[in-house]
């Protein structure tokens, strides 16, 4: 090795993945070989996160040396996100061939297609949201490096959540996601509302974190391990197949599980842990609200799925313990139904678009939770009641992943339009949107498409996503009747939700514009117009060409059931 950096790299790689037996001269082939070898190591598995870390350091340095005049921070952030996305994409294509599942960093994290799928998802979203902030100019030049540091940091936290294999990482991931989010919510420093929202968010988050930590300590303390893959076997060892709720150990563990889920429910803004959500969204800028509504939910869902499967992932088991998990699943279902109903009904009377969308995200978290609930119910069905529970459970996850992907575009689209309109008319009140459909037709049509997709009307992507989830819930209904009820509630909710979305659209397209209102001129061929179209088109595409994504989602989900 002929330089210091090379030897350092070499040592890092050899220590984490064994030595590379190739040509030792620096050549393209050697570099490619090294890269391949590097990607096999723990550091390599972690490379997208590392790239983001490096970007954060760069962002800080850029400001430190005063280069932010010549090199805009968003370019650094965008470049870093793209590099990270590229690495994740490499991993994804790599894994699609081998579809291996591998623990790394001494079992703290796990590297499998599910992880990488979420990385891709989060990074794609990060890129889109960064682009949106560039367009809407929400962090001013002064604060831009800080803002992007927080954004990237929060994303790293979410990626950690998606690859968590250990209770410690679960907590770490949730906190790493939350802390930057608190700051981002309060980022509009001049606004009192914003600071208030941030404070509420912090306090509420702290409470939830406390509960979650308590749950973690209960579970880890009783089972003697914090590693997720060992949970189920430890549990079986401690209580046997016939554990019931009368057993104090079982009771303690279930309490712990539930407390951890409360922490996640906070992140997912599920009823009754959603109170922070409308206030925080109203106080935060639309971009941040969009980010929180999609990305942190995606991370939390990945975590929830992993956590649930750690205990209840084995459909072969028998006994009363399984029954308890079944009821846990039903409990999730009840919460899901409650969230969907509450979110939709509470959105009715909202006058602020962001607040309205905040309630809408609560409702959507409910729909998505139905998939997890159905998965739990199906996996813990009494033996013989389902033909092939694994396939059905796989279908549930496929629905969840599909929903998340569509949700990314439709929710981002809606929030982006809110942000772009805000830049024109300086208002986020529904009543101020009156007649906008004729001044900024592109934005409003995009908003319309996104909202119809949120309702779940064909041929928008939201329809197919909802269809898959409802189909899974129907399947779970064959195990327990309660799921049918949840399905009916879900279906009714779809109808409820139509009202408040259409109310916004009606204001936009039917009501006349006030003569003295500010004009909003966003032509089709302007950058914001094109951005809105770019985000909206996938909503339509995913509603029509469903095969590619649903097959990928199915494939990705299947690794969790082996």
């Amino acid at each position: 090795m002929n330089n210091g950096f090379g030897s350092l790299l070499d040592r890092l790689i050899t220590e984490t993945a064994g030595s590379y037996e190739g040509e030792s001269a620096w050549s393209l082939e050697y570099a490619a070989g090294m890269f391949g070898q590097f990607m096999e190591s723990s550091l390599g598995h972690f490379s997208p996160e590392l790239a983001l870390c490096a970007t954060i350091v760069c962002l800080l340095l850029v400001r430190l040396f005063g280069c932010d005049k010549c090199c805009q921070p968003y370019w650094v952030a965008l470049f870093g996100s793209l590099v990270s996305f590229g690495l994740a994409y490499y991993q994804f294509t790599d894994l699609q061939q081998t579809s291996q599942s591998e623990e790394f960093f001494t079992g703290l994290l796990i590297y499998d297609p599910f992880t990488v799928f979420f990385r891709l998802f989060l990074l794609l979203f990060l890129i889109l949201i960064t682009a949106l902030t560039v367009l809407s100019g929400i962090p001013d030049d002064e604060d831009a490096p800080d803002f992007y540091c927080l954004l990237l940091g929060s994303t790293i936290g979410m990626m950690l959540m998606a690859s968590a294999n250990h209770m410690l990482v679960i907590f770490l991931g949730v906190e790493m996601t939350s802390v930057p989010s608190y700051v981002m919510v309060g980022f509009l420093k001049g606004r009192r509302q914003s600071s208030e929202a941030a404070l509420k968010y912090v306090v509420y988050g702290a409470g939830a974190a406390g509960v979650m930590l308590y749950g973690t300590s209960l579970v880890a303390g009783v089972l003697g391990t914090a590693s997720l893959p060992e949970m189920a076997s430890r549990m079986a060892l401690l209580v046997g197949e016939a554990g019931t709720m009368s057993d104090p150990i079982v009771r303690t563990v279930i309490l712990g599980i539930m407390l951890v889920m409360v922490g996640l429910a906070f992140k997912l803004s599920l009823v009754p842990f959603h109170f922070w959500c409308p206030d925080a969204f109203e106080g935060a800028s639309a971009e941040v609200a969009g980010f929180l509504s999609v990305a942190s939910k995606a991370g939390a869902f990945a975590l929830l799925v992993r956590f649930c499967l750690a205990f209840a992932g084995n459909p072969e088991g028998t006994g009363t313990l399984k029954e308890i998990y079944l009821y846990l699943g039903l409990g999730l279902g009840v919460i899901a139904a409650a969230s969907a109903t509450f979110g939709n009904l509470a959105a009715y009377s909202q006058t602020n678009v962001k607040r309205l969308l905040a309630y809408s995200t609560i409702a959507h978290a409910g729909y998505m939770l139905m998939a997890v609930s159905a998965m739990m119910v199906i996996l813990n069905a009494p033996a013989g009641s389902l033909h092939d529970p694994l396939v059905d459970a796989n279908r549930c996850l496929e629905g969840l992943l599909y929903y998340l992907f569509v949700y990314l575009f439709m929710n981002l689209g809606a929030f982006a339009v809110v942000a772009l309109i805000r830049n024109q008319i300086y208002s986020e009140e529904v009543s101020d949107y009156a007649g906008l459909g004729y001044q900024a037709p592109v934005l409003c049509v995009c908003m319309g498409i996104c909202m119809f997709s949120l309702v779940g009307i064909p041929p928008m992507g939201g329809f197919f996503a909802k269809l898959v989830i409802f189909a899974s819930v129907f399947k779970a209904g064959q195990v327990h009747w309660l799921m049918y009820l949840i399905l009916i509630i879900g279906g009714l909710n779809t109808v409820f939700s139509l009202v408040y979305y259409v109310r916004v659209l009606k204001t936009m397209f039917v009501d006349p514009r006030h003569a003295d209102a500010r004009r909003a001129d966003v032509p089709f061929n302007s950058v914001p117009g094109l951005y809105a179209v770019m985000v909206t088109v996938p909503v339509l595409v995913l509603g029509i060409a469903v095969k590619g994504l649903s097959e990928t989602a199915n494939q990705v989900a299947s690794v969790l059931f082996r």
Binding site: G207, T244, P272, F496
Partner: protein, 803 residues
């Protein structure tokens, strides 16, 4: 050999697709601000020129790879046709020839035997063509479009010597005409083109931006379509490109769309062609239902089995049509009867096959302006002259003849006889009209129709090679003459009436000279006793000879020989009349004469290039190279007729005498003016008017079709208005009444219910405000309450199940 097929198809595909590529660019000329530049023209010329080179390279490659069997086999063919009654002798000669072959070729023995057998087969089938052992025809698939059930729709190629010949002819002529058009269309290179033929209401002329680039983009599209038609490997593909050339023709005839005459002519051409295409479609449907494929040649289906193409199905290996009662037995790739899945033999009723043939021929009648659909072609002369030269004389109208030739194996004797008579009528009618026409382009247009009639006649009487031979030679001399007439029109500032010209050869020598070459060629003049003859003599001689042979075999159809013979004289007459009228004698209109000038070199160049081809492309006649190239592709069909040597000589002499007589008459009437043609005109005024009115076909069609359809149209409109509309209005009125009722029901009951639900949910939604107090202490308390609640819920559940 597989490789050769690939290479050829690639080369021809380049030649075929380049003009399309050019079209795609040129059509945006207005957008690129090319209105005042010749860029579009250069692109078009470049594309078609490269296409010509590709075609030539393809031909050379084909020739080399097949050891130029095309010219060798001709020798054999000559022996067969000349001495076909002395079979034994001929066979010996073949034997001798085989020995030579055996020395020449490594696989001599096998080759020779096969050749021998084929030659024998040829004798049996009355002069049928001896097919060489080397593969000379290639077919395959370029792109698979779709499969509907068992029907494959694909883009195929079928390349034989006819395809190659047509490619070279079309691309060469098109290149020349494109170059010519650069000069001819140059007055379009302006922002404000004044159209002198369109008068505005204020007495001025219509002005519009020039359309130079548009003209060339249409021309490129046309070349693409025409080459696609020639390359096509299945009849459906032919149909698609058939329609494409149709639309190009429509666009080009209507190029001066503001002139009413032009747009009417474009419509007329399009509509008349639709009539023909209607028959074409019927033919296609019959073929598809009975044969299940559109491909000409054998092909591999998607299971990898070799399947028979249309020709193989009908003709089998030996060119015979096998009949089973009233049905024709279809054959598989080995010439055995074709069986379907259930094992029964596939047949097609004889009359249905006749109908299919007539249907496809109907398309040819439309496109090639044959009787009774000939009326559109003279009107099509409204297009710019280069268009007339390329589209309406040399290539597109010849496509009908080409298709008749390509589809020859599918034509049964009844169909061929129809073709012959249609051609016969056409050639006579058109020639008589040409005698009295005074518009220089119209004379040429009628002569085109007449010559197309000759080709059809040739094919109809079984002279496959003769018909297509005339197609090629005619393409050269007719495009030459059209370009010359274009040059005259350009020089005389858009004067087209011959009575206003005269003596122009002094002013435009190049044009006059090249025109004379064309005229001699089409008149079919030759010096008796020598082999010095222009191309038209050879090809027309071949047709007349075949017709005589046919009449010799079937004396009933004597008209099929007499009419073309007489018309050969008329042809010579009206063509020389045109030349003398225009170029010789004294100027009749001083104004026109003064303003007249020779065309620039960009226009004269193509004339000088085409002239030698017009004169000598057929050199050697039926022993020459051009004919042997075409004859190699002659289908294995028992309907092919070859004229014997004696008949050939006789027919040739007759035709020459007729042509010389025609020429002399023209010279005496219009060159020397020994009798004033006006006197003759007066004496036969009835006949003259009849001819000037084009045999009154337009009036006839007007009475027969146009007016009745107007009446029917009015009647339909009346029925529509007074019966259907009234009915519909009644229905609508009832509907309105019902919906008024419905509305009351809806507003009162349904909406009431919905509003009730809405109000309830809305008030619930509002009441949810109560929880969202904004009080942070309360929020945190809710966490604790929530956890406790959940835990209680779970315990309740689990105790419930344990109980």
């Amino acid at each position: 050999m597989e490789d050769l097929g690939k290479q050829l198809s690639t080369l021809l595909m380049v030649a075929w697709l380049l003009p399309f590529f050019g079209f795609c660019i040129e059509v945006f000329g207005g957008y690129f601000k090319w209105r005042l530049t010749k860029t579009a023209a250069y692109i078009a010329v470049g594309c078609i020129g490269v296409g010509f080179l590709c075609s030539v390279v393809a031909f050379m490659q084909w020739g080399n790879a097949t050891d130029w069997v095309v010219f060798e086999s001709h020798e054999g063919e000559h022996h067969v046709s000349a001495d076909h009654d002395e079979a034994a002798k001929s066979h010996d000669e073949h034997g001798a020839k085989h020995d030579e072959h055996a020395k020449e070729h490594e696989h001599g023995e096998e080759h020779a035997d096969e050749h021998g057998e084929k030659a024998e087969g040829a004798h049996d089938s009355h002069g049928g063509h001896a097919k060489p052992a080397v593969q000379t025809a290639f077919s395959g698939q370029i792109y698979h479009l779709a499969r509907f059930g068992e029907l494959d729709i694909s883009i195929d190629y079928y390349i034989d010597s006819l395809t190659l010949g047509m490619f070279m002819m079309v691309t060469l002529i098109a290149t020349c005409i494109h170059v010519f058009a650069i000069g001819y269309m140059s007055d379009e290179l302006t922002e404000s083109y004044e159209d002198h033929f369109v008068h505005t209401s204020d007495g001025g002329h219509f002005k519009r931006p020039g359309r130079f680039y548009r003209f060339f983009s249409y021309m490129s599209l046309f070349c693409f379509s025409m080459l696609g038609l020639v390359l096509a490997g299945n009849i459906f593909q032919v149909f698609v490109f058939w329609e494409l050339v149709g639309i190009c023709s429509f666009l080009l005839i209507g190029f001066y769309v503001e002139r009413k005459s032009a747009s009417t002519a474009a419509n007329k051409a399009f509509i008349v062609n639709r009539v023909g295409d209607f028959g074409f479609i019927i033919g296609l449907m019959i073929l598809w239902t009975s044969c299940g494929t559109f491909r000409f040649d054998n092909y591999e289906d998607h299971h990898g089995h070799e399947q028979p193409g249309l020709f193989q199905m009908v003709r089998g290996n030996d060119g015979h049509v096998t009949q089973d009662g009233d049905a024709v037995v279809l054959k598989d790739v080995h010439g055995e009867p074709l069986t379907d899945a259930s094992g029964s033999t596939k047949t097609i009723p004889y009359m249905l096959l006749v109908a299919a043939g007539l249907g496809v021929f109907c398309g040819c009648v439309g496109k090639s302006a044959q009787f009774p659909l000939q009326t559109w072609l003279p009107d099509a002369m409204e297009g710019p002259t280069p268009v007339s030269a390329l589209v309406h004389s040399a290539t597109m109208v010849a496509a009908g003849v080409y298709l008749a030739g390509r589809f020859f194996p599918m034509f049964l004797p009844e169909v061929l006889l129809t073709i012959a008579y249609v051609g016969c009528v056409t050639l006579f009618v058109a020639a008589t009209i040409a005698v009295v026409a005074t518009d220089i382009k119209r004379v040429l247009a009628y002569s085109t129709i007449s010559q197309l009639g000759y080709m059809m006649l040739g094919i109809g009487v079984g002279g496959w090679g003769a018909g297509l031979f005339h197609l090629i030679t005619h393409a050269f001399f007719k495009s030459l003459m059209f370009l010359c007439s274009g040059s005259v029109i350009h020089g005389c500032h858009h004067e087209q009436e011959m009575p206003k010209m005269g003596g122009l050869w002094k002013k435009m020598p190049v044009t006059a000279f090249t025109m004379l070459v064309g005229v001699i060629a089409i008149a079919g003049l030759a010096i008796p006793g020598t082999s010095i003859a222009f191309s038209g003599y050879h090809s027309k001689d071949a047709i007349v000879a075949t017709a005589l042979q046919f009449v010799d075999d079937n004396p009933v159809h004597i008209l099929l020989f007499i009419v073309p013979l007489v018309t050969a004289g008329i042809t010579a007459f009206y063509m020389f009349r045109l030349w003398f009228y225009t170029f010789a004698g004294q100027p009749r209109d001083a104004h026109v004469y003064e303003g007249c000038h020779e065309s620039p070199s960009v226009m004269c160049g193509p004339l000088l290039v085409l002239a030698p081809f017009a004169a000598w492309c057929a050199i050697g006649g039926e022993h020459g190279k051009l004919f042997s190239i075409l004859a190699l592709s002659e289908p294995a069909s028992t309907e092919v007729v070859h004229a014997s040597h004696d008949i050939h000589t006789a027919a040739g002499s007759f035709a020459l005498v007729a042509a010389i007589l025609g020429t002399l008459t023209a010279y005496l009437l219009y060159g020397k003016t020994i009798v004033d043609p006006a006197n003759i005109k007066r004496q036969f005024s009835g006949l003259h008017t009849f001819l000037v009115e084009k045999w009154r076909f337009d009036e006839l069609y007007d009475v027969m079709f146009v007016r009745p359809s107007h009446v029917v149209g009015k009647w339909c409109a009346g029925v529509d208005k007074y019966i259907f509309d009234e009915f519909l209005h009644g229905v609508v009125r009832t509907g309105i009444r019902v919906s008024q009722w419905d509305r009351k029901f809806d507003e009162g009951i349904i909406d009431g219910l919905v509003n009730l639900v809405g109000n309830v949910t809305f008030s619930i939604g509002r009441s949810l405000h109560v929880f969202q107090t904004g009080n942070i202490r309360q929020y945190v308390m809710f966490i604790a309450v929530g956890v406790l609640m959940l835990f209680a819920l779970l315990f309740a559940f689990s105790f419930a199940i344990l109980a």
